[in-house]
Each structure stands twice: as structure tokens, then as C-alpha cells.
Amino acid sequence: MAKGKDGGGGGNSNDSKYFTTQKKGEMHELRMELHATEKHVKVDAVKKVIASMTVGKDVSMLFTDVLNCVQTGNIELKKLVYLYLINYAKTQPELTLLAVNTFVKDSADANPLIRALAVRTMGCIRVDRITEYLCEPLGRALRDDDPYVRKTAAVCVAKLYDIAPELVAERGFLDTLHDLISDSNPSVVANAVAALSEIAESSGKDVMKVSAAVLQKLLAALNECTEWGQVFILDSLAKYTPADGREAEGIIERVTPRLQHANSAVVMSAVKVILSYMELMGSSNIRSDAIRSLTRKLAPPLVTLLNSEPEIQYVALRNINLIVQKRPHILENEIKVFFCKYNDPIYVKMEKLEIIIKLVSEKNIDQVLLELKEYSTEVDVDFVRKSVSAIGRCAVKLERAAERCIGVLLELIQTKVNYVVQESVIVIKDIFRRYPNRYESIIATLCDNLDTLDEPLAKASMIWIIGEYAERIDNADELLDTFLETFEEEDPAVQLQLLTATVKCFLKNPEDTQDMVQRVLDLATEESDNPDLRDRGFIYWRLLSTDPEAAKMVVLGDKPVIEDDTFRLDPGLLNVLIGQIATLSSVYHKPPEAFVVRRAAGISADDDEEDDDDENYEDGDTGEGDLLDMGGMNINDSRGATASVYETKSPMNKVCGAEKSNGIEVYAGFRQVNGTIRMEMQMNNISSPAEIQGLAIQLNKNSFGLSPTSQQISCNPPIAPGSSGIATVELVVTPNMLAPQSANQPASPQVQIAIKNMQTGTVFYFAVDFNLEALFSQDGTMERSVFIESWKSIDDRNELYGTVSDIPPENLDIDTVINKFKANNIFFIARRPVPNAEGQEVVYFFMRTITQMEFLAELTFKQGVTACKICLKTENSSYGLLAKQAIEYLLRDF
């Protein structure tokens, strides 16, 4: 084969010919070629097969033929066959066994490259039978004389652990791996560290066991191994907790030289170690000096990262965003480096803006304002808008600079660029809220630009300003009047503001605006089908008609002063994320649990189809939970017809009255049936003119990400006027339906729903409270030991207490409760009597939602008392309350 550079040269060197489409009979032809005696024909044929594989064509039927080529001394051919094997072994586990001999033979080859290749490839073949044969060669490879083989074997242990953890334990590979940390070769050390870290993370066990001796080994290897190895070691050091400040300082000293490495991953991992250890260094005088000098050392490398490739800049900026929130001093004098360059990609510019706002201070505000003003004249609309809004945020943040910021905003408004004006108006509203009664002089300028506003948010902001300062605007009522002409076409946000502003205007100047307020109230309460608007309209109406003074106090009352907390993270989360510097978590600004999903069940289901042995094995592995789960389902199935007490059922509540929906009364609730979430609706056709036959449904974004699998609901049989019927909607959880959550607020149980009656064309809206038990997953089991660990690891702040009283007596029997809960996917973990308390017993339960939120519950029962104490622990604290309510509901009402 010729070298790649002369690509199109000799016919042999050109792999692209293998990509030519395969006609009929081609497979047969390939098969013939694979069996050819000439080596080059054979090699070419395998290349064609690999090419087909790459473009996604199924060539698994050639398995035996390709496998036949494996008996070869030609390394190139061997590598190709191995590549094929890795891809298709899972579909042909029996046939793959035929390759075992070759693997075993190769793993004892004289050439270390071949020995390593065999072990590496075997580890990638995820077939259980193969793994049995892997153990022997792997054991030998871990002790091989050649470092290349050892380093490959080290990673292979992690591969094996992923498939068969018990085999790794049985063979003592973990200990061997641990010994490799002391290997003389730095590459071997690095890979051993990588493998151990991974096993530690997936198993939750401390397999690294960093002792003083190991620590020294790691620090020594840090100086010698490759850039990647340095990253592995630094990342594992970051997970280690030094015994005291002195040790922390010692390690930091050895790590700081890494800040000068050309590889940005090494630099960022070193930053992570230093930042995490700084926490431990305490605050004595000597220490704070040390911390100060470290802070000085950290700034230059962080700044240097901004001279790297744009992708690295992006990662660095997301991390710096966290760092400046945690330790603002590090970069307080470096704001200039975050000024955007003309040719930075937009995503870099956006992140830089965020950091500029975080670093802005009285000292640098003038410079920052000049910059932001400059950005506001660029071409990218999103960036310009964000820059304008940044000016407003500076004003909200720095009181003394507010006036200068407003000055700049006014200049920008003069440019008359449509989106600049709109964004300016939006932020000026925020400035008014922050500093009430201070800058009204600029209202006149704003009013000159009314006609440029066409976006809902900008309009709503302007209307708010008019209403709030109606007494100082001579023609406030006229201005509002112009908006009212198009009231019905406006966005709901604008309508709401118009309503409020008109009422404010009326309260301040009742004589001239009586007609107007009447008109708005009519529009809001009678013409609109938006429930929010209508409700607000009614409230105002009632307030105004019963007690205008009270109305004044409510509508014109003082508003809380706002702060600029946009994008500021909650301190708890920030601390978590600081420990996650240089991981994806720090880029997403989310804790790892929020996006790392362990191997999904779907994958093991594939295995089951192929191999019966696998299935048994899997069952044995996941253990008790699954079996119990099936039991639960069986009970359901057998007794379903008689509406057993153990069946899940939807708590049906009236959610929509006939007056809102043109004659249809709706009761609705949620439940889970065979793993599917359902919303069940009972519809009473009170006075709808036609039979209810077809409905269309739409859900608003909600706290659970629920959305219907199909928008059409058909009622079969149709529900005639005067009768009632049932409609069921199947729901799925999709991330893009998830309403944005604020970290510390309890999640709202409400699911807002719109339904269109296809017969009459009526659209009606209502909201149903979601009951969380419908979201609990069938595979929500947990090992007892894991449960105990989790229980301990969850912070007490994430605990919820409550007592359920008046439980029906039949629900006080613990066995009944356990069975009942199981049917609702709340799984029993353990029970024990409370020592020294006669007749008291605690029971532990575990539940996991389909969205992978976990809840741990402790229920305390006492004989003869119709109440139960609940203690609930979860990391997803905003959903804790809902989980507790679900348990309470199930206890009260089976």
C-alpha cells in the first residue's frame, strides 16, 4: 500500500472505491473475495466490508466469512477483522466464540503490539461468553514485561468491569490494577489511574484508596507521563480530600507548575485541584497569605486560555463564570481581557458579556459602558440585544453608575434601530423598578418612540412605565388609549399590562379615565378567553366597585426592589459546580446527576433477545427488585377487572366547569398503567350542542416535561348531550416540554391543558394538578446497601417531615401498605421496630421517577395510632413536596 499522501495515485491506495454502491449479488461476490487465496484480494474485500459498515449498511451476514480471515500474520488485515468483530459481535455471540482461539493465541504472541491488540479488542467485545475467556489473557497482560501491554491491560480492566463487575472482583483484578499505580512506567500509571477512577465512579466504592504512599506515586508520575495521563491524575487528585491544610498546600505546590502546560485540559484540571484544595486551607493569617499568592498565580493561566481555539475559549469562559462567582478576586483586575474581539464567534461573545457584568465595578464602569455601547452597534441582533440589556444590568448592579448607564441607553435609543430601542425600553423598566422615582425625566424620550415598539415584551414594559408614572405623563390616558385599539390582537403579556396600567391610571386620575377603565374591564372579562386575564379583570373590577381605597393600596402599593440576579447561581449549586470545574457539568452549569444517565434499560433488553442465558443472568443481577416488580404487575393484571384495591387509580378532580367550555364538565387525574403515564378524563356533556366525538389536546410546558403522544383524542362511543364518557390520553416525558425551574422553588404540580372540541370548534383551558406517583418508574428498586449510603449522603437540608393523620384503619397494616405502595412503584427497602419504643415500627421505601429523580422515604407507624410520620430525603428538593404529597395521598386513600 502506498502512503496516504498520494491519495488518488496507485489504484491500490484508494479506499474510496470500496464505497461504491453495492448492487445485487454483491454480497455473494464479496463472500467469494473474502475466501480468495491471494492476500491483497482478501484485504480489499475486508476493506469493502468495513466501508459498508461505516455508511451504516448491514453486513452482518458476512460474519463467518470475515471471521475466517482472522487467522493471518498480516497485522493490517488482523486489525480490520477486529474492527469488524467489535461492531458485530453482539449480533452473533455464538459465532464470535470462534474467534476466541485467535485472541488467546495472539495474546501470547512474541510481538507486544499484537499482544496488546488482542487484549484491547477482546475487551471491546461485549459478549458474556467472551469475557470468561478474557480473564486468563488479561491476568497475564497485567503482569506483562512490556509496558505497552500493561497500559492496554489496565484500561481493559475498566472495560471488563463495565460488563461483569463480579468477574473483576473474583479475579482480584482491582488489586492488580491498584498495584499498577506503583508501576515504573508513567503511561501505565496514568491508565491505571484512569481505569480506577472510572470504576470508583460507576461502583460508588473507593477503589482508588489514596494513601500517603499512593499520593507520592501520583505526584511523581505527574511530572513524567503524557499530557492525557496528567489530566487523568489531576482529575483523580481533585476527588481526593487532603487530611489537613498543610497537605493540601503541599499538593498544590506540586500541581501549580502544570498551569504552564500547553494543553488546556491539563491547565483546567490543575485549576480544579487548586480551587478545591483552597477551600481546605483554612483562614489563618499565614494561610490567607498563601491563598492570596495562589489567587495571583491562577489569573494569568486563566487569561491565557482565552487565546486558545474558540471551543476551548468557550469551555474556559463557562468555567470562569463559576470561578468569578466563587472567588471574584482572582480576575477582578482583568476585565479588559473579556472585552469582545470583533471576530470572536457569537457564542464566545455571549459568554464574555456575562463575565463582564459579573466583574463590573465602580472602578471600571466607564470603560465597560464604552465597550457595551460599541457592541450595541454591531450586526448580530442577539449579541446587540444582550449588550443593551447588559447596560441595564450594570445600572441595576451599581447605583452610582445608574445615571451614566441611562445616558448611554438614551443615546442608543437615538439611533432608532428598532431592536435596540425595544431592548432599551425593556431594561429601562428594570432600572425604574430598582430606583423608583429617580429617573422619570427620560419618560418623554421613551414616549417619542412608542410607534417603534412591536415586540410584546417591549410593549408590555413601556405600558408598565406609562401606568406606573401616569401622574407625570400629561397624556398617559391618550397613550394607553392608542394601545387599547388593538387590545384583542395583543399578546397576553401586553394585555395584562394594559389592564393593570389602565387601572393604575384610573386610580390616579378617575375623572378622565372612567370610560377607558370600563372598556378595558369589559374586554378582559367578557371578550377574552385567557383565564389569567379574566381573573385579573374580575379582581380589579370587584376591588374598584367595593373599595377603591383598598384598590389603591393593592394596585399602587410599593413594589419590592429588584436586584440583578440574572444567571447568578445558588450558593449550594455553585459549591457543587466548583468541584466540577473542567467537566461537562461546569459547561452546562448543572450538577452531573442532572444529565448523566446510567446505562439505560433498553440496552439490556437487546441482549435478552439474543441469548437466553443472558436473560437469566440479568435477572439474577438486578435481583429482588425486578421480581417483586413483576409480582406487582401480576396482581394488577389478574385483579384489574374487579377494580382491585391494589390497582393504581387516578385521583379524579373537577378541573373545568361547563361554563368555561361551552357545556362540557371535565374531571381529570393521572395514573400509571403498565409503565405508561395516562391522563384520564371524565367528560360530562352538560349542554354542548353536539356530541363530543373528537378532541385535540395540547399541554403547556410543565414541571415534569409531560406531553401527549398524540394530540387527537377520540371518544368512543361519542358522548351525547346529557351523558358522560371517559377519555384517556397517553403521556410521555420529553425534556423540551420541561418548564424552566428555579432551583429553590418547589416545583408546581400544575399541568395546564388546552382542549379543542373538534365538533364545535370551542377551545377551553384548564389546569390539573399532577400526582407524582404516576411518574414513579417500575424499575425504581435499589439495593439496601446503596439505599443506606444514599440516605447518609443526602444533606439534612434536603429533608422533609410530615405527619399524616386520620389514616383509615385498614391502611395501618404495614404489609398492606407495602403491597399497595409496590403497585404504585414505591418500593419497600426495609423495616425494623424502633428500639425502646413499644409498638413503633419504621419502614423504608424508595422511589425513582422516570426522569431519574430519586426519593428516599422513612415511614414511622405506631400501634393503635391512626397517624404516620413521614421523613423524605431527596437531592431533587424542589420535587420533594410533591413526592411527600403522593405518599400522603396513597396512605389516606387507597
Binding site: 486489525k79 511530572n223 487569561v303 470583533y342 461537562l584
Partner: protein, 424 residues
């Protein structure tokens, strides 16, 4: 760790994909094509995307996407550095401008490289020189292919960037100090941003395993040595992995065993006492009538008259509705280029200490609604050979080898404009 590496073409078709873990399905990977490539927002949206629990991290070479897919909480900098390395390796094998065709023609080679440079999602040996010793598709099965065991110790050794037994007839080192100077001046002439980023590019052709010591006029070192000469204050620097960082941290000496051939030894950043090669003083006046603009520009070459700048291009922005521009200038070529919305002045050779003027009267077309001109900055490009804006120069490069051979060294300096902008 990384589950899969894919290389896609412009349309998002998979050209190469190597699965390192089986937790990502092909269908899952395909969502990248549908949701990222198809939107054509790849230049403006973040290079880290999460779709259905799969995280995609990507970079581009020409119009190809190099994508890493993962389900775990990986170190993103590590992933990007690996992707850059992969592109670098492919460039070295297939040529700097390798394209889709070259990829297809060398598919098996690429698979082999991907197999060797990453295992189970962990990056492994990425040193091109070493890779070329044993991944070459049999082409250079030349006389000097080392023994397998020698090879493996090379791959896993502490010095994996250099192999033993290199011989050169002439021992030579070429050192290029490349600086790019960034400047942003406000319209009042205040310096908003001024910074030099420099790189020391080496090309070493040395025999054996020589130990090198390299010295710049780093202020900290010079002060320590008690010399009177002024030094340059270097804000921060990063080094090629051959440099002993511990040693640098301890006493700021730069010691290393060099790779053979071309590589970047170090990068540095300087922000203080920068010699700006060009001073540009603009006066730009818009007339009240909004139909005329008069531009006056004074440009002073602020470096020794022994030197000269090349490829000087100064772009003076003018409004969109420019009708014509009457330009007067002393040398070079200048004309109004509507597509750039600027008067572009090009000078091939600009002597040091020279001072020259350019002036222009710009006539604007009347517009129905007077539009305010956003006044973008004046932009400059240039190169000044044998000049460093930071003042950095190479003090020495000492080569120690047991055989004690003589080494020839050549040092070149060049400063060019990075972002050199003057707001008006």
C-alpha cells in the same frame, strides 16, 4: 469518557465513526446531523450540545465536523484537545488541506489511527512522530523500523515525542519568534486594549538525545542574574510538553529534550511596555449636511529605519451610501472598495521611521431617511520582520550532547498585526 468519535461531511453524513463504548446508538448519534448540522448554526451556537442525554462536542476542519459523543461527565477541554490532536495527526498523514476525498481514500488508515490514539474513550499516545513509526500501512517498512519492544518502550516512555538514534549530518536549530500585536484605541486615542501574544516556533535537527536550555530576556531571570540590561515582563507562558515545568516553576529556566523537526516550544503573553509598530492618528469629520465626510490620517512607522514593514493594509471605513471618494496619498495604492465599505490603502514596503498622510473627501448619496453611521473602527494589517513589539529576544540556546557536536542556530523575529484597530 468519550463513547464515540464521528467525522461527518458538510451534509452531516458519517464518513468515519468509531465507537469506543456501546452506550451510544447510531440513531442517537444521528440526532446531531438532524439537530445541529441541519440548522447551519454551527458557527454561532456553542460547540457543546446536549441532545437526549448524549453530549456532542465538536470542532471543524474545512467543512468537516469532528464530533465526540459521550453520555458521561467528561472533561470537555480534554475532548477538544483530543479532537485538535486528531486533526493534527490527520494533517500530518494526509496533508494540511486534507478533504473528504482524502478521508475516504484512507479510511482504513484513519481507523487504525483512531484505534491507537484512543482506548475505551481515553486518549492514548498522540505523538505523530512515534505513530508514524508503526502506523504507515506498510509503506515505509523501511530499513529503520525498530524492534517491537523498542517501539513499545518508545510509545510508553517518558519521552514519547522523540525516538532514540536520530542522526543528522548537520546539527541545526531554527528559531522563529512570532508575535502578534493586538491594539484597540478609542476615538480619543486612549489605549483600550494592548497585548502581544508570542510563540517560539522551533525546527530542530539534532543528533542523539540532546539536552537543551533556552533563554529569553525574561525580566525575572535577568534581575536574578543581577544584570543591568532591561528585561521583558512576561505575563504568562505555556510550554510544549517536552519542557520540564517543575524546573521552570522553581527557577524559570527552560530546559528540554527537543522533538525532532518542527514544533511550538512556547507561547507567551506580554501586556506592559509594548512598542507599537504603527501610530495612526485619524481625524474624520462628518459635515452637518450629512453628504460629505473628510478623512485625514497620519501614519507613523514607529520602528528603526533599518527595518521595513511589509503587507501593510489600512482599511478606513466609510458609510454604506458612499458615492465616491477623492483620495490623496503619498505612496502605496489606495482606493474605495464598496464591497468592504472602506477605503483600502495598501503599501507593500513601509520603511521604518517614515511618516505619511492620506486624506480623502467622501461624497455620500443623499438618503430619504438620514441614517446614523455606526463608525466602525479602522483596521490595520502588517508584518514587521526582525522586530518584536514586546521587546522579547532570544538570549541563548545551549545544546548539550555527550558527543559534544557543534550546533548552528538561526533566529528570526517577526511581528504582525493581530487585532489592530483604531476607533473613530
Amino acid at each position: 469518557m468519550i463513547s464515540m468519535i464521528m467525522i461527518l461531511n458538510q451534509k452531516g453524513d458519517i464518513m468515519i465513526s468509531r465507537q469506543y463504548r456501546d452506550d451510544v446508538s447510531r440513531a442517537g448519534a444521528d440526532s446531531f446531523r438532524l439537530q445541529v448540522v441541519a440548522t447551519k448554526n454551527t458557527g454561532t451556537e456553542a460547540p457543546v450540545v446536549r441532545i437526549e442525554n448524549n453530549s456532542f462536542l465538536y470542532t471543524r476542519h474545512l467543512n468537516m465536523f469532528f464530533v465526540a459523543v459521550t453520555r458521561s461527565n467528561v472533561n470537555p477541554a480534554l475532548v477538544f484537545e483530543y479532537l485538535y490532536q486528531l486533526v493534527r495527526i490527520l494533517k500530518s498523514y494526509l496533508g494540511d488541506e486534507f478533504d473528504e476525498n482524502a478521508m475516504r481514500n484512507n479510511m482504513t488508515l484513519i481507523y487504525e489511527l483512531m484505534d491507537e490514539t484512543m482506548d475505551f474513550g481515553y486518549p492514548q499516545n498522540c505523538a505523530v512522530d512515534v505513530l508514524k513509526l508503526y502506523i504507515n500501512l506498510g509503506s515505509v517498512k523501511a530499513q529503520d523500523e525498530p524492534e517491537p519492544s523498542q517501539l513499545t518502550s518508545q510509545i510508553t516512555g517518558a519521552i514519547d515525542w522523540r525516538r532514540e538514534g536520530i542522526r543528522h549530518k548537520k546539527n541545526e536549530v531554527y528559531i522563529d519568534v512570532l508575535e502578534s500585536v493586538n491594539l484597540l484605541l478609542s476615538s480619543t486615542g486612549a489605549i483600550l486594549r494592548n497585548e502581544v501574544t508570542g510563540a517560539v516556533q522551533m525546527n530542530t535537527k539534532l543528533t542523539g538525545m540532546p539536552e537543551c536550555k533556552f533563554g529569553l530576556n525574561d525580566k525575572l531571570v535577568i534581575e536574578k542574574e543581577g544584570q543591568r540590561k532591561p528585561g521583558v515582563e512576561i505575563d504568562d507562558c505555556t510550554f510544549h510538553r517536552c519542557v520540564r515545568l517543575g524546573k521552570f516553576d522553581a527557577d524559570r529556566t527552560i530546559t528540554f529534550i527537543p522533538p525532532d523537526g518542527e514544533y511550538e516550544l512556547m507561547k507567551y503573553r506580554v501586556t506592559d511596555n509594548i512598542n507599537l509598530p504603527f501610530r495612526i492618528i485619524p481625524t474624520i469629520q462628518e459635515e452637518q449636511s450629512l453628504t460629505k465626510i473628510s478623512i485625514n490620517l497620519k501614519v507613523i512607522a514607529n520602528f528603526s529605519d533599518q527595518l521595513f514593514a511589509t503587507h501593510v493594509v489600512i482599511k478606513i471605513p466609510v458609510p454604506k451610501n458612499t458615492a465616491k471618494a477623492k483620495i490623496k496619498h503619498s505612496f502605496g495604492r489606495a482606493k474605495y472598495e464598496p464591497e468592504q465599505q472602506a477605503i483600502v490603502w495598501r503599501v507593500k514596503r513601509f520603511p521604518g521611521k517614515a511618516e505619511c498622510h492620506i486624506s480623502a473627501d467622501v461624497d455620500l448619496m443623499p438618503t430619504v431617511r438620514p441614517k446614523i453611521w455606526s463608525r466602525p473602527p479602522i483596521n490595520c494589517e502588517f508584518q514587521v520582520p526582525m522586530f518584536t513589539a514586546s521587546g522579547v529576544h532570544v538570549r541563548f540556546l545551549r545544546v548539550y550532547d555527550k558527543s559534544g557536536y557543534h550546533t548552528n542556530r538561526w533566529v528570526r523575529y517577526i511581528t504582525k498585526a493581530g487585532n489592530y484597530q483604531i476607533r473613530i
